[in-house]
């Protein structure tokens, strides 16, 4: 598992964790620090800081009844275990967070059927155990999008460590290219992507599964070079500082551009529009955007990009004239 899990750092999360910790320790005298940290999904340092707090906590209002929990750095002992440490029911947020995530993962096309069944069984059990606390979880839902068949092939290629051949659509160039890729991992952030080593460009690339037109699992073993996995929590598209700059001015009808394109700045214009500055390794790929915007916006720079959109529009209009004439001819001829 790569990527940084979000670490609870506040007092609420620590309290929540310590309450579970005492229950857990009661059942496991002499538990190993390493095992407990793993079971709780925290670092050993975080666990040790919890163990520093627990001996300051008492089970009785009369005082003097402090938890006698200590550690030699390797194992943890609770010398006066108390029946206060019973498993606690789930809070509404806890039930919601777990159930919504479980239901979302269960919608992933291509998830192994056995895993999906296990998840559905677990979800039903947690719903029952959570009781009323599960109620609010219906007010939140998440759907992952993925192409089922492509997903299953990529998943299989990863687990069998095999190379893939794909025909991939690039909207920027409106073209299909064939490439061989060594898949590294599947990532779902709204859409589902495969991160892979692309043998054609000899570089790490991310491919959106719904743009894979064709896929085949090859017999060759997959051998991606060791690459450091990126933290994708800030989004998959991360323009580099050296990428060329593009400036677009849009009217009110083109404000959506700022929602869809990661940008450096978006300044308000007096007419209710925006002046958006963004960077992309390939400005020509934004011709589509310029055409799409129509009267709702224009490319300010680079001028070559503005020119190419203008020319494309003129060529398109000419194509209409051609079809017009052709059809008129057909009608006369018929």
């Amino acid at each position: 598992m790569a990527g940084k899990p979000v670490r609870p750092v506040n007092a609420i999360d620590q309290t929540r964790r310590m309450l579970s910790l005492v229950t857990y320790l009661r059942e496991r005298p002499g538990a190993r620090v390493e095992d407990v940290a793993r079971a709780f999904g925290i670092s050993e340092d975080e666990l040790v800081s919890d163990l520093d707090v627990l001996p300051m906590c008492g089970t009785s209002f009369r005082g003097g009844d402090l938890l006698d929990i200590d550690t030699d750095g390797e194992r943890i002992w609770w010398h006066n275990p108390d029946d206060v440490a019973e498993p606690l029911r789930l809070a509404a947020d806890e039930a919601t967070a777990l159930l919504v995530a479980a239901r979302a993962v269960a919608t992933l096309p291509g998830l192994r059927e056995s895993d999906r069944q296990a998840l559905l069984r677990a979800t039903a059990k947690v719903e029952t155990a959570a009781g009323e606390a599960a109620g609010a979880s219906a007010r939140l839902s998440v759907t992952f999008e993925a192409e089922g068949g492509v997903f299953a092939d990529v998943d299989r290629a990863i687990s069998e460590r095999r190379r893939l051949w794909i025909r991939y659509y690039s909207p920027a160039r409106d073209e299909l290219t064939e490439r061989e890729i060594d898949p590294i991992r599947l990532v779902s952030v709204g859409h589902t992507y495969v991160e892979a080593w692309c043998r054609r460009s000899e570089a790490r690339r991310t491919f959106r599964l719904d743009r894979v037109a064709e896929i085949r699992i090859l017999d060759e073993p997959s051998a991606p070079p060791e690459v450091e996995l990126r933290d994708l929590s800030e989004g998959l598209v991360q323009p580099a500082a050296e990428d060329p700059e593009v400036v677009v001015e849009v009217g009110p009808g083109g404000r959506w551009v700022a929602e869809y394109y990661p940008h450096d700045s978006a300044d308000e214009l007096p007419d209710g529009g925006l002046r958006i500055t963004l960077r992309t390794p390939d400005p020509a790929s934004l011709r589509r955007l310029a055409l799409r915007l129509g009267r709702d916006g224009r490319i300010v720079s680079p001028p070559e990009l503005a020119d190419s959109a203008r020319h494309a529009a003129r060529d398109a209009l000419a194509a209409y004239d051609g079809v017009e004439a052709h059809r008129a001819h057909e009608v006369r001829g018929g």
Partner: protein
């Protein structure tokens, strides 16, 4: 040195869980060191109320009981706080382990791992790598919108809210009064469905278009909450995915793969062009213009006029 909040909350929780009879505020103040150090009655009272709320957020059921002398006492009864028995096998545990990691929003990530920790304490099997059989799958639920957390809480607690909302094509945001029903994430974006009080109708809002703060309003919902809230159908309609007509276009051979993928019929014309029948929904004109000189719209006339209009605007540039 001030005693850390986590230590104070832990002590309060243990006192309330450990007692068999309700404890008065006075008793709690005397038995928890942090409260003894709290100073004035006022600051103690404020601290105590906040702590009680925090513990309730963590799921603790704290009962308030009045004793014979009319003094208020508090306790967290074992019976109402105990997790009902739950037995999960190793596969189910692994599946939940994977699910608990998908949130990228701090509050829900914390809550999900808290849930897992409670289940671990109650005997959820361990030592299973949640990624074992699946190796590579990394689902993530993105939450970039600042409005998410306040709206999530408002949906949970059924509290009306007010926020400034800028419609897709509007220059200025307008205040909206909403009874929030449900949040849904679709294609990586979050949407809110609810009752728009000013319009007296159900509305769907895209969270990224909420500007400024989400503010809670007092009082209850005025409109009934439907059993099933459908966010996705509404959004799909915006995205033009609920096409009910079809269009006829000419497409240059080898171009426009996504148009071909959607086509219901394709005819090769042999002169470097193909003729395609494609679903015609909202937004199709803007999409077709993206293909520039590789697409010519034949029918219907209305779509053709829209596309020509857009092309002329760019050509004039």
């Amino acid at each position: 040195m001030a005693i850390a909040k986590a230590e104070r909350l832990m002590n309060l929780a243990l006192c309330l869980l450990g007692t068999r009879r309700p404890l008065s505020k006075r008793e709690l103040r005397e038995s928890i060191e942090a409260y003894l150090e709290a100073g004035t009655d006022d600051s103690f009272n404020r601290m105590f109320e906040r702590d009680k709320d925090d513990l309730r957020e963590l799921g603790l059921v704290i009962e308030t009981v009045e004793n014979l002398d009319g003094e208020v006492g508090y306790l967290a009864a074992r019976a109402s706080n105990r997790l009902p028995p739950i037995t999960l096998d190793a596969e189910e545990a692994a599946a939940l382990g994977l699910a608990a990691k998908v949130w990228q929003q701090a509050r829900l990530a914390g809550a999900a791992s808290g849930a897992l920790q409670k289940l671990r304490a109650a005997g959820l099997p361990e030592d299973v790598d949640p990624y074992g059989p699946h190796g590579a799958l990394e689902p993530r639920i993105p939450v970039h919108e600042a409005a998410f957390e306040p709206l999530m809480l408002a949906c949970r607690d059924r509290r009306p809210v007010v926020f400034d909302y800028r419609k897709a094509t509007a220059a200025r945001p307008e205040p909206r009064q909403v009874e929030p029903w449900a949040l849904e994430c679709w294609r990586g974006h979050w949407y809110l469905a609810g009752w728009d009080r000013d319009r007296g109708a159900e509305r769907v809002f895209r969270l990224s278009r909420i500007t400024g703060k989400v503010r809670s309003r007092g009082g209850r919902f005025g409109a009934p909450v439907p059993d099933v809230v459908t966010v996705r159908e509404t959004v799909a309609g915006w995205a033009g995915e609920t096409a009910d007509r079809s269009a006829l276009i000419r497409l240059r051979a080898d171009a426009g793969y996504p148009l071909r993928a959607k086509a219901t019929a394709v005819r090769e014309l042999g002169d470097g062009w193909d003729e395609l029948e494609i679903p015609y929904g909202r937004g199709l004109d803007a999409w077709l213009v993206e293909f520039g000189p590789d697409v010519v719209v034949l029918e219907p006339a209305e779509l053709r006029a829209d596309v020509l209009d857009r092309l002329r605007a760019v050509a004039k540039g």
